[in-house]
Symmetry: C2
DNA sequence: GTTACGCCTTGATCCAGATCAAGGACACCC
DNA sequence: GGGTGTCCTTGATCTGGATCAAGGCGTAAC
Protein backbone atom coordinates (compact mmCIF):
# COMPACT_ATOMS: atom_id res chain seq x y z
CA UNK A 1 0.00 0.00 0.00
CA UNK A 2 1.34 3.37 -0.97
CA UNK A 3 1.99 5.72 1.90
CA UNK A 4 3.23 9.21 2.24
CA UNK A 5 2.47 12.69 1.16
CA UNK A 6 -0.35 14.07 -0.89
CA UNK A 7 0.44 13.95 -4.55
CA UNK A 8 -1.49 16.92 -5.75
CA UNK A 9 -2.88 20.27 -4.65
CA UNK A 10 -4.46 22.69 -7.10
CA UNK A 11 -6.69 25.75 -7.06
CA UNK A 12 -10.36 24.90 -7.29
CA UNK A 13 -11.90 25.36 -10.74
CA UNK A 14 -14.93 27.60 -10.63
CA UNK A 15 -16.66 25.43 -13.22
CA UNK A 16 -15.96 22.05 -11.68
CA UNK A 17 -18.59 19.83 -10.13
CA UNK A 18 -16.53 19.97 -6.93
CA UNK A 19 -17.14 23.71 -6.79
CA UNK A 20 -20.89 23.11 -6.98
CA UNK A 21 -20.80 20.38 -4.39
CA UNK A 22 -18.95 22.44 -1.81
CA UNK A 23 -21.26 25.39 -2.39
CA UNK A 24 -24.23 23.12 -1.73
CA UNK A 25 -22.82 21.77 1.51
CA UNK A 26 -24.79 22.89 4.52
CA UNK A 27 -21.82 24.58 6.14
CA UNK A 28 -21.91 27.05 3.23
CA UNK A 29 -25.67 27.18 2.85
CA UNK A 30 -27.38 30.49 2.19
CA UNK A 31 -24.38 32.35 0.84
CA UNK A 32 -24.86 34.47 -2.24
CA UNK A 33 -22.66 33.60 -5.16
CA UNK A 34 -20.27 36.51 -4.76
CA UNK A 35 -19.63 35.75 -1.16
CA UNK A 36 -19.00 32.09 -1.80
CA UNK A 37 -16.70 32.97 -4.68
CA UNK A 38 -14.57 35.09 -2.43
CA UNK A 39 -14.16 32.13 -0.10
CA UNK A 40 -13.69 29.64 -2.90
CA UNK A 41 -10.57 31.28 -4.32
CA UNK A 42 -8.79 30.25 -1.13
CA UNK A 43 -9.80 26.61 -1.35
CA UNK A 44 -7.60 23.95 -2.89
CA UNK A 45 -8.31 20.66 -4.58
CA UNK A 46 -6.32 17.65 -3.38
CA UNK A 47 -6.08 14.22 -4.92
CA UNK A 48 -4.95 11.32 -2.80
CA UNK A 49 -4.02 7.83 -3.83
CA UNK A 50 -5.04 4.87 -1.75
CA UNK A 51 -2.87 4.76 1.34
CA UNK A 52 -1.83 8.41 1.20
CA UNK A 53 -1.88 10.08 4.56
CA UNK A 54 -3.46 13.51 4.60
CA UNK A 55 -2.45 14.39 8.15
CA UNK A 56 -1.29 12.80 11.36
CA UNK A 57 -2.63 13.22 14.82
CA UNK A 58 -0.89 16.20 16.38
CA UNK A 59 -0.30 18.07 13.11
CA UNK A 60 -1.28 21.70 13.12
CA UNK A 61 -4.90 21.95 12.00
CA UNK A 62 -4.95 24.81 9.54
CA UNK A 63 -7.68 23.49 7.27
CA UNK A 64 -10.64 21.22 7.16
CA UNK A 65 -11.81 19.10 4.25
CA UNK A 66 -14.76 18.30 2.06
CA UNK A 67 -14.76 14.82 0.49
CA UNK A 68 -15.85 14.84 -3.14
CA UNK A 69 -14.84 11.32 -4.05
CA UNK A 70 -13.23 8.32 -2.39
CA UNK A 71 -13.11 7.42 1.30
CA UNK A 72 -11.11 8.98 4.12
CA UNK A 73 -10.41 7.04 7.29
CA UNK A 74 -10.05 8.94 10.55
CA UNK A 75 -8.13 6.83 13.04
CA UNK A 76 -6.22 6.68 16.28
CA UNK A 77 -3.03 4.71 16.75
CA UNK A 78 -1.85 3.33 20.08
CA UNK A 79 1.69 3.25 21.39
CA UNK A 80 1.85 -0.41 20.37
CA UNK A 81 0.74 0.36 16.83
CA UNK A 82 -2.84 -0.83 17.06
CA UNK A 83 -5.18 1.23 14.95
CA UNK A 84 -8.72 2.24 15.85
CA UNK A 85 -10.83 3.58 13.00
CA UNK A 86 -13.03 6.31 14.41
CA UNK A 87 -14.92 7.10 11.28
CA UNK A 88 -14.85 6.62 7.53
CA UNK A 89 -15.83 9.83 5.78
CA UNK A 90 -17.85 9.42 2.58
CA UNK A 91 -18.30 11.80 -0.34
CA UNK A 92 -20.49 14.79 0.41
CA UNK A 93 -19.22 15.14 3.96
CA UNK A 94 -16.63 17.26 5.70
CA UNK A 95 -14.10 16.35 8.35
CA UNK A 96 -11.71 18.25 10.58
CA UNK A 97 -14.01 21.22 11.01
CA UNK A 98 -14.64 20.32 14.62
CA UNK A 99 -11.09 20.91 15.69
CA UNK A 100 -10.57 24.00 13.63
CA UNK A 101 -11.87 26.48 16.08
CA UNK A 102 -9.58 26.16 19.01
CA UNK A 103 -6.48 28.21 19.51
CA UNK A 104 -3.36 26.20 18.64
CA UNK A 105 -5.57 23.63 16.99
CA UNK A 106 -4.08 20.22 16.28
CA UNK A 107 -5.76 17.27 14.65
CA UNK A 108 -6.74 14.68 17.27
CA UNK A 109 -6.77 11.87 14.68
CA UNK A 110 -4.95 10.59 11.61
CA UNK A 111 -6.53 10.91 8.16
CA UNK A 112 -5.74 8.41 5.43
CA UNK A 113 -7.26 7.70 2.03
CA UNK A 114 -8.77 4.21 1.87
CA UNK A 115 -9.34 4.72 -1.84
CA UNK A 116 -8.16 7.20 -4.45
CA UNK A 117 -9.89 10.34 -3.20
CA UNK A 118 -10.62 13.91 -4.19
CA UNK A 119 -10.88 16.53 -1.49
CA UNK A 120 -11.48 20.22 -1.19
CA UNK A 121 -9.22 21.85 1.37
CA UNK A 122 -10.80 24.77 3.20
CA UNK A 123 -8.41 26.92 5.24
CA UNK A 124 -9.75 27.56 8.73
CA UNK A 125 -9.19 31.26 8.39
CA UNK A 126 -11.55 31.36 5.41
CA UNK A 127 -14.36 29.76 7.33
CA UNK A 128 -13.59 31.84 10.39
CA UNK A 129 -14.09 34.95 8.30
CA UNK A 130 -17.44 33.60 7.22
CA UNK A 131 -18.43 32.91 10.82
CA UNK A 132 -17.60 36.47 11.79
CA UNK A 133 -20.04 37.92 9.32
CA UNK A 134 -22.67 35.23 9.13
CA UNK A 135 -24.74 34.27 12.12
CA UNK A 136 -26.50 31.44 10.30
CA UNK A 137 -23.18 29.85 9.51
CA UNK A 138 -22.35 29.99 13.22
CA UNK A 139 -25.54 28.27 14.14
CA UNK A 140 -25.03 25.60 11.51
CA UNK A 141 -21.52 24.91 12.74
CA UNK A 142 -22.79 24.71 16.31
CA UNK A 143 -25.42 22.20 15.25
CA UNK A 144 -22.76 20.29 13.31
CA UNK A 145 -20.53 20.10 16.38
CA UNK A 146 -23.45 18.98 18.55
CA UNK A 147 -24.14 16.15 16.14
CA UNK A 148 -20.50 15.08 16.13
CA UNK A 149 -20.44 15.13 19.89
CA UNK A 150 -23.59 13.07 20.07
CA UNK A 151 -22.09 10.52 17.72
CA UNK A 152 -19.00 10.24 19.90
CA UNK A 153 -21.11 9.71 22.99
CA UNK A 154 -22.88 6.90 21.19
CA UNK A 155 -19.50 5.42 20.26
CA UNK A 156 -18.38 5.54 23.89
CA UNK A 157 -21.60 3.84 24.86
CA UNK A 158 -21.02 1.10 22.30
CA UNK A 159 -17.48 0.54 23.47
CA UNK A 160 -18.09 0.61 27.18
CA UNK A 161 -21.44 -1.03 27.72
CA UNK A 162 -22.09 -3.06 24.57
CA UNK A 163 -20.22 -6.12 23.38
CA UNK A 164 -18.71 -6.90 20.01
CA UNK A 165 -21.74 -8.88 18.81
CA UNK A 166 -24.04 -5.96 19.48
CA UNK A 167 -21.68 -3.56 17.71
CA UNK A 168 -21.53 -5.80 14.68
CA UNK A 169 -25.31 -6.17 14.55
CA UNK A 170 -25.66 -2.37 14.77
CA UNK A 171 -23.06 -1.91 12.07
CA UNK A 172 -24.87 -4.25 9.72
CA UNK A 173 -28.19 -2.55 10.39
CA UNK A 174 -26.60 0.83 9.79
CA UNK A 175 -25.55 -0.38 6.35
CA UNK A 176 -28.88 -1.63 5.09
CA UNK A 177 -29.38 -0.62 1.48
CA UNK A 178 -32.71 -2.29 0.83
CA UNK A 179 -35.58 -3.50 2.96
CA UNK A 180 -37.70 -6.37 1.81
CA UNK A 181 -40.85 -7.21 3.68
CA UNK A 182 -41.17 -6.54 7.37
CA UNK A 183 -38.31 -8.54 8.71
CA UNK A 184 -35.81 -8.92 5.89
CA UNK A 185 -33.24 -6.61 4.37
CA UNK A 186 -29.99 -6.41 2.44
CA UNK A 187 -26.93 -4.65 3.78
CA UNK A 188 -23.76 -3.79 1.96
CA UNK A 189 -20.39 -3.93 3.70
CA UNK A 190 -18.34 -1.98 1.21
CA UNK A 191 -15.24 -1.68 3.35
CA UNK A 192 -12.44 -4.23 3.66
CA UNK A 193 -12.95 -6.53 6.61
CA UNK A 194 -9.96 -5.22 8.52
CA UNK A 195 -11.36 -1.66 8.35
CA UNK A 196 -14.75 -2.81 9.59
CA UNK A 197 -13.04 -4.70 12.39
CA UNK A 198 -11.08 -1.63 13.41
CA UNK A 199 -14.23 0.50 13.25
CA UNK A 200 -15.85 -2.00 15.66
CA UNK A 201 -12.74 -2.16 17.85
CA UNK A 202 -12.21 -5.85 17.32
CA UNK A 203 -9.63 -7.94 15.47
CA UNK A 204 -10.28 -9.25 11.95
CA UNK A 205 -10.30 -12.82 13.29
CA UNK A 206 -13.06 -11.95 15.71
CA UNK A 207 -15.08 -10.22 13.01
CA UNK A 208 -14.76 -13.29 10.84
CA UNK A 209 -15.95 -15.55 13.64
CA UNK A 210 -18.88 -13.31 14.56
CA UNK A 211 -20.02 -13.15 10.95
CA UNK A 212 -19.76 -16.90 10.75
CA UNK A 213 -21.86 -17.37 13.85
CA UNK A 214 -24.53 -15.06 12.38
CA UNK A 215 -24.59 -17.28 9.32
CA UNK A 216 -24.55 -20.52 11.34
CA UNK A 217 -27.52 -19.32 13.37
CA UNK A 218 -29.42 -18.61 10.18
CA UNK A 219 -29.84 -14.92 10.95
CA UNK A 220 -28.06 -13.78 7.78
CA UNK A 221 -26.34 -15.16 4.76
CA UNK A 222 -23.33 -13.53 3.22
CA UNK A 223 -22.03 -13.29 -0.30
CA UNK A 224 -18.76 -11.44 -0.44
CA UNK A 225 -19.65 -7.92 0.67
CA UNK A 226 -23.42 -8.28 0.65
CA UNK A 227 -25.31 -9.42 3.75
CA UNK A 228 -28.82 -10.84 3.35
CA UNK A 229 -30.63 -10.35 6.62
CA UNK A 230 -33.22 -13.09 7.11
CA UNK A 231 -34.57 -11.71 10.37
CA UNK A 232 -34.08 -8.13 11.46
CA UNK A 233 -35.70 -8.98 14.77
CA UNK A 234 -33.23 -11.72 15.53
CA UNK A 235 -30.35 -9.55 14.37
CA UNK A 236 -31.53 -6.79 16.70
CA UNK A 237 -31.56 -9.21 19.61
CA UNK A 238 -28.31 -10.95 18.71
CA UNK A 239 -26.29 -10.41 21.81
CA UNK B 1 -29.72 6.41 48.53
CA UNK B 2 -32.45 8.88 47.76
CA UNK B 3 -33.67 8.94 44.18
CA UNK B 4 -36.24 10.91 42.30
CA UNK B 5 -37.12 14.40 41.36
CA UNK B 6 -35.44 17.66 42.12
CA UNK B 7 -36.54 19.02 45.42
CA UNK B 8 -36.26 22.68 44.76
CA UNK B 9 -36.33 25.25 41.97
CA UNK B 10 -36.26 28.96 42.69
CA UNK B 11 -35.60 32.21 40.87
CA UNK B 12 -31.97 33.28 41.02
CA UNK B 13 -31.23 35.98 43.56
CA UNK B 14 -29.43 38.92 41.98
CA UNK B 15 -27.27 39.30 45.07
CA UNK B 16 -26.27 35.68 45.50
CA UNK B 17 -22.78 34.37 44.96
CA UNK B 18 -24.28 32.02 42.39
CA UNK B 19 -25.33 35.02 40.33
CA UNK B 20 -21.74 36.29 40.34
CA UNK B 21 -20.34 32.89 39.48
CA UNK B 22 -22.56 32.38 36.46
CA UNK B 23 -21.83 35.89 35.22
CA UNK B 24 -18.12 35.13 35.40
CA UNK B 25 -18.42 31.89 33.46
CA UNK B 26 -16.76 32.08 30.08
CA UNK B 27 -19.96 31.27 28.21
CA UNK B 28 -21.29 34.62 29.47
CA UNK B 29 -18.03 36.53 29.29
CA UNK B 30 -17.99 40.07 28.02
CA UNK B 31 -21.65 40.88 28.62
CA UNK B 32 -22.49 44.21 30.14
CA UNK B 33 -24.46 44.07 33.36
CA UNK B 34 -27.80 45.02 31.86
CA UNK B 35 -27.60 42.38 29.21
CA UNK B 36 -26.68 39.68 31.67
CA UNK B 37 -29.45 40.78 34.00
CA UNK B 38 -32.00 40.35 31.28
CA UNK B 39 -30.80 36.78 30.78
CA UNK B 40 -30.50 36.08 34.48
CA UNK B 41 -34.16 36.68 35.28
CA UNK B 42 -34.93 33.57 33.27
CA UNK B 43 -32.49 31.37 35.13
CA UNK B 44 -33.47 29.17 38.05
CA UNK B 45 -31.64 27.83 41.05
CA UNK B 46 -31.96 24.13 41.76
CA UNK B 47 -30.89 22.21 44.81
CA UNK B 48 -30.39 18.48 44.58
CA UNK B 49 -29.83 15.96 47.28
CA UNK B 50 -27.43 13.11 46.85
CA UNK B 51 -28.95 10.56 44.52
CA UNK B 52 -31.46 12.95 42.97
CA UNK B 53 -31.72 12.57 39.24
CA UNK B 54 -31.79 15.82 37.30
CA UNK B 55 -32.65 14.30 33.96
CA UNK B 56 -32.62 11.00 32.11
CA UNK B 57 -31.21 10.18 28.77
CA UNK B 58 -33.85 10.89 26.16
CA UNK B 59 -35.58 13.68 28.12
CA UNK B 60 -36.25 16.84 26.19
CA UNK B 61 -33.25 19.12 26.58
CA UNK B 62 -34.72 22.54 27.27
CA UNK B 63 -32.00 23.82 29.54
CA UNK B 64 -28.38 23.44 30.40
CA UNK B 65 -26.77 23.79 33.81
CA UNK B 66 -24.05 25.54 35.72
CA UNK B 67 -22.74 23.69 38.80
CA UNK B 68 -22.21 25.98 41.76
CA UNK B 69 -21.71 23.34 44.42
CA UNK B 70 -21.66 19.57 44.70
CA UNK B 71 -20.93 17.00 41.99
CA UNK B 72 -23.05 15.92 39.03
CA UNK B 73 -22.46 12.58 37.36
CA UNK B 74 -23.22 12.23 33.66
CA UNK B 75 -23.74 8.58 32.81
CA UNK B 76 -25.00 6.05 30.32
CA UNK B 77 -26.96 2.96 31.29
CA UNK B 78 -27.03 -0.23 29.26
CA UNK B 79 -30.03 -2.43 28.60
CA UNK B 80 -28.74 -4.78 31.30
CA UNK B 81 -28.48 -1.97 33.82
CA UNK B 82 -24.73 -1.46 33.78
CA UNK B 83 -23.76 2.13 34.28
CA UNK B 84 -20.92 3.97 32.58
CA UNK B 85 -19.93 7.29 34.10
CA UNK B 86 -18.97 9.60 31.28
CA UNK B 87 -17.98 12.58 33.33
CA UNK B 88 -18.29 14.04 36.81
CA UNK B 89 -19.00 17.75 36.60
CA UNK B 90 -17.41 19.88 39.29
CA UNK B 91 -18.37 23.34 40.56
CA UNK B 92 -17.62 26.17 38.18
CA UNK B 93 -18.49 24.12 35.11
CA UNK B 94 -21.50 23.75 32.86
CA UNK B 95 -23.06 20.65 31.36
CA UNK B 96 -25.74 19.96 28.80
CA UNK B 97 -24.94 22.98 26.69
CA UNK B 98 -23.53 20.80 23.94
CA UNK B 99 -26.82 19.16 23.17
CA UNK B 100 -28.88 22.28 23.46
CA UNK B 101 -28.48 23.51 19.96
CA UNK B 102 -30.04 20.83 17.89
CA UNK B 103 -33.64 20.81 16.83
CA UNK B 104 -35.66 18.37 18.97
CA UNK B 105 -32.78 18.21 21.40
CA UNK B 106 -32.74 15.35 23.87
CA UNK B 107 -30.13 14.64 26.51
CA UNK B 108 -27.83 11.81 25.43
CA UNK B 109 -26.91 11.00 29.05
CA UNK B 110 -28.37 10.77 32.55
CA UNK B 111 -27.50 13.40 35.16
CA UNK B 112 -27.46 12.53 38.86
CA UNK B 113 -26.20 14.33 41.94
CA UNK B 114 -23.36 12.43 43.62
CA UNK B 115 -23.52 14.90 46.49
CA UNK B 116 -25.95 17.56 47.63
CA UNK B 117 -25.60 20.06 44.79
CA UNK B 118 -26.61 23.56 43.78
CA UNK B 119 -27.20 24.30 40.14
CA UNK B 120 -28.21 27.18 37.96
CA UNK B 121 -30.61 26.16 35.22
CA UNK B 122 -30.24 28.16 32.02
CA UNK B 123 -33.06 27.74 29.49
CA UNK B 124 -31.72 27.06 26.02
CA UNK B 125 -33.86 29.79 24.54
CA UNK B 126 -32.14 32.35 26.75
CA UNK B 127 -28.71 31.41 25.55
CA UNK B 128 -29.93 31.11 21.98
CA UNK B 129 -31.07 34.72 22.17
CA UNK B 130 -27.64 35.68 23.35
CA UNK B 131 -26.00 33.79 20.49
CA UNK B 132 -28.15 35.63 17.99
CA UNK B 133 -26.89 39.00 19.07
CA UNK B 134 -23.41 38.20 20.26
CA UNK B 135 -20.79 36.90 17.93
CA UNK B 136 -18.21 36.40 20.68
CA UNK B 137 -20.60 34.16 22.55
CA UNK B 138 -20.96 32.08 19.38
CA UNK B 139 -17.25 31.68 19.07
CA UNK B 140 -16.89 30.76 22.71
CA UNK B 141 -19.57 28.11 22.41
CA UNK B 142 -17.91 26.73 19.29
CA UNK B 143 -14.60 26.51 21.14
CA UNK B 144 -16.40 24.88 24.07
CA UNK B 145 -17.94 22.25 21.80
CA UNK B 146 -14.59 21.59 20.14
CA UNK B 147 -13.04 20.94 23.53
CA UNK B 148 -15.84 18.57 24.51
CA UNK B 149 -15.44 16.73 21.25
CA UNK B 150 -11.72 16.44 21.75
CA UNK B 151 -12.27 15.03 25.23
CA UNK B 152 -14.65 12.42 23.85
CA UNK B 153 -12.14 11.39 21.21
CA UNK B 154 -9.59 10.90 23.95
CA UNK B 155 -12.09 8.81 25.88
CA UNK B 156 -12.71 6.62 22.84
CA UNK B 157 -8.98 6.23 22.46
CA UNK B 158 -8.64 5.17 26.09
CA UNK B 159 -11.43 2.66 25.79
CA UNK B 160 -10.47 1.14 22.48
CA UNK B 161 -6.71 1.05 22.43
CA UNK B 162 -5.66 1.33 26.05
CA UNK B 163 -6.17 -1.17 28.82
CA UNK B 164 -7.58 -0.72 32.31
CA UNK B 165 -4.15 -0.35 33.92
CA UNK B 166 -3.27 2.51 31.63
CA UNK B 167 -6.61 4.20 32.25
CA UNK B 168 -6.15 3.93 35.99
CA UNK B 169 -2.62 5.32 35.81
CA UNK B 170 -3.90 8.24 33.71
CA UNK B 171 -6.74 8.81 36.11
CA UNK B 172 -4.40 8.98 39.07
CA UNK B 173 -2.08 11.36 37.24
CA UNK B 174 -5.04 13.54 36.28
CA UNK B 175 -5.84 13.88 39.97
CA UNK B 176 -2.48 14.97 41.25
CA UNK B 177 -2.88 17.73 43.79
CA UNK B 178 0.74 18.21 44.77
CA UNK B 179 4.09 17.45 43.17
CA UNK B 180 7.07 16.77 45.32
CA UNK B 181 10.48 16.52 43.75
CA UNK B 182 10.92 15.34 40.21
CA UNK B 183 9.35 11.93 40.39
CA UNK B 184 6.95 12.00 43.31
CA UNK B 185 3.47 13.40 43.81
CA UNK B 186 0.26 13.13 45.75
CA UNK B 187 -3.09 12.49 44.11
CA UNK B 188 -6.49 12.69 45.65
CA UNK B 189 -9.25 10.31 44.63
CA UNK B 190 -12.21 12.15 46.07
CA UNK B 191 -14.87 10.00 44.47
CA UNK B 192 -16.24 6.72 45.83
CA UNK B 193 -14.47 3.73 44.35
CA UNK B 194 -17.48 2.50 42.43
CA UNK B 195 -17.78 5.86 40.65
CA UNK B 196 -14.10 5.85 39.73
CA UNK B 197 -14.50 2.29 38.47
CA UNK B 198 -17.45 3.26 36.32
CA UNK B 199 -15.55 6.30 35.01
CA UNK B 200 -12.74 3.91 33.98
CA UNK B 201 -15.20 1.38 32.55
CA UNK B 202 -14.15 -1.38 34.91
CA UNK B 203 -15.80 -3.13 37.84
CA UNK B 204 -15.07 -2.11 41.43
CA UNK B 205 -13.39 -5.47 42.06
CA UNK B 206 -10.99 -4.83 39.20
CA UNK B 207 -10.23 -1.33 40.42
CA UNK B 208 -9.45 -2.71 43.84
CA UNK B 209 -7.11 -5.32 42.39
CA UNK B 210 -5.33 -2.83 40.15
CA UNK B 211 -4.77 -0.43 43.03
CA UNK B 212 -3.45 -3.28 45.09
CA UNK B 213 -1.00 -4.28 42.40
CA UNK B 214 0.24 -0.69 42.17
CA UNK B 215 0.88 -0.82 45.89
CA UNK B 216 2.48 -4.29 45.77
CA UNK B 217 4.85 -3.12 43.06
CA UNK B 218 5.88 -0.19 45.21
CA UNK B 219 4.75 2.40 42.68
CA UNK B 220 2.32 4.08 45.05
CA UNK B 221 1.01 3.80 48.56
CA UNK B 222 -2.57 4.52 49.45
CA UNK B 223 -4.26 5.89 52.52
CA UNK B 224 -7.98 5.98 52.14
CA UNK B 225 -8.56 8.48 49.32
CA UNK B 226 -5.03 9.82 49.03
CA UNK B 227 -2.50 8.22 46.71
CA UNK B 228 1.20 8.83 47.32
CA UNK B 229 3.00 8.33 44.04
CA UNK B 230 6.57 7.14 44.64
CA UNK B 231 7.55 7.13 41.00
CA UNK B 232 5.71 9.09 38.35
CA UNK B 233 7.92 7.50 35.71
CA UNK B 234 6.96 3.99 36.73
CA UNK B 235 3.32 4.98 37.00
CA UNK B 236 3.46 6.42 33.50
CA UNK B 237 4.87 3.17 32.16
CA UNK B 238 2.60 0.91 34.22
CA UNK B 239 0.90 -1.08 31.56
C1' DG C 1 -23.23 -4.01 73.56
C1' DT C 2 -25.31 -6.19 68.67
C1' DT C 3 -27.52 -5.78 64.53
C1' DA C 4 -27.47 -4.07 60.16
C1' DC C 5 -25.98 -1.73 56.13
C1' DG C 6 -22.70 0.48 52.76
C1' DC C 7 -18.43 0.21 50.93
C1' DC C 8 -14.41 -2.08 49.86
C1' DT C 9 -11.34 -6.12 49.38
C1' DT C 10 -10.03 -10.85 48.35
C1' DG C 11 -10.36 -15.38 46.35
C1' DA C 12 -12.00 -18.74 42.85
C1' DT C 13 -13.69 -19.33 38.54
C1' DC C 14 -15.41 -18.06 34.01
C1' DC C 15 -15.58 -16.10 29.40
C1' DA C 16 -15.27 -12.74 25.38
C1' DG C 17 -12.11 -11.52 22.60
C1' DA C 18 -6.95 -11.46 21.64
C1' DT C 19 -3.08 -13.83 20.03
C1' DC C 20 -0.44 -17.23 17.58
C1' DA C 21 -0.23 -20.22 13.82
C1' DA C 22 -1.74 -22.31 9.70
C1' DG C 23 -4.18 -22.63 5.75
C1' DG C 24 -7.50 -21.23 1.77
C1' DA C 25 -8.97 -18.21 -2.19
C1' DC C 26 -8.07 -15.08 -5.39
C1' DA C 27 -5.59 -11.76 -8.29
C1' DC C 28 -1.50 -10.42 -10.63
C1' DC C 29 2.99 -11.26 -12.64
C1' DC C 30 6.68 -13.80 -14.91
C1' DG D 1 1.88 -23.34 -15.64
C1' DG D 2 4.17 -21.89 -10.99
C1' DG D 3 5.38 -17.97 -7.67
C1' DT D 4 3.98 -14.51 -4.42
C1' DG D 5 1.11 -11.08 -2.20
C1' DT D 6 -3.17 -9.69 -0.07
C1' DC D 7 -7.18 -10.70 2.22
C1' DC D 8 -9.86 -13.63 4.75
C1' DT D 9 -10.96 -17.75 7.48
C1' DT D 10 -10.25 -21.41 10.86
C1' DG D 11 -8.26 -23.72 14.79
C1' DA D 12 -5.81 -23.84 19.31
C1' DT D 13 -4.62 -21.46 23.11
C1' DC D 14 -4.13 -17.55 26.22
C1' DT D 15 -5.56 -13.70 29.15
C1' DG D 16 -7.63 -9.33 30.99
C1' DG D 17 -11.25 -8.33 33.17
C1' DA D 18 -16.00 -9.98 34.64
C1' DT D 19 -18.65 -12.65 37.65
C1' DC D 20 -19.86 -15.14 41.74
C1' DA D 21 -19.23 -15.64 46.49
C1' DA D 22 -17.46 -14.56 50.89
C1' DG D 23 -15.62 -11.80 54.25
C1' DG D 24 -13.76 -7.18 56.66
C1' DC D 25 -14.43 -2.84 58.42
C1' DG D 26 -16.53 1.44 59.76
C1' DT D 27 -20.53 3.70 61.40
C1' DA D 28 -25.22 4.57 62.51
C1' DA D 29 -29.46 2.86 65.12
C1' DC D 30 -31.23 0.78 68.87
Amino acid sequence: MQRGAVIDSLPMDRNSSLYESVRDHYLFAGLDEDHFDRLAVEMKVKSLEQGNILFHRGDRADSFYYVDGGLIELSLISATGDKKTLEVVHPGRTFGEAVTFMQEARYPVNAEALQPSQLCEIPNRVYLDLLKTNRDACMRLIADLSRHLHARVREIENLSIQNARYRLASYIMDHIVERRGGDQATASLELPRHVIASRLSIKPETLSRLLRSLVDEGIVSIEDRVVFIHSLDRLRLYD
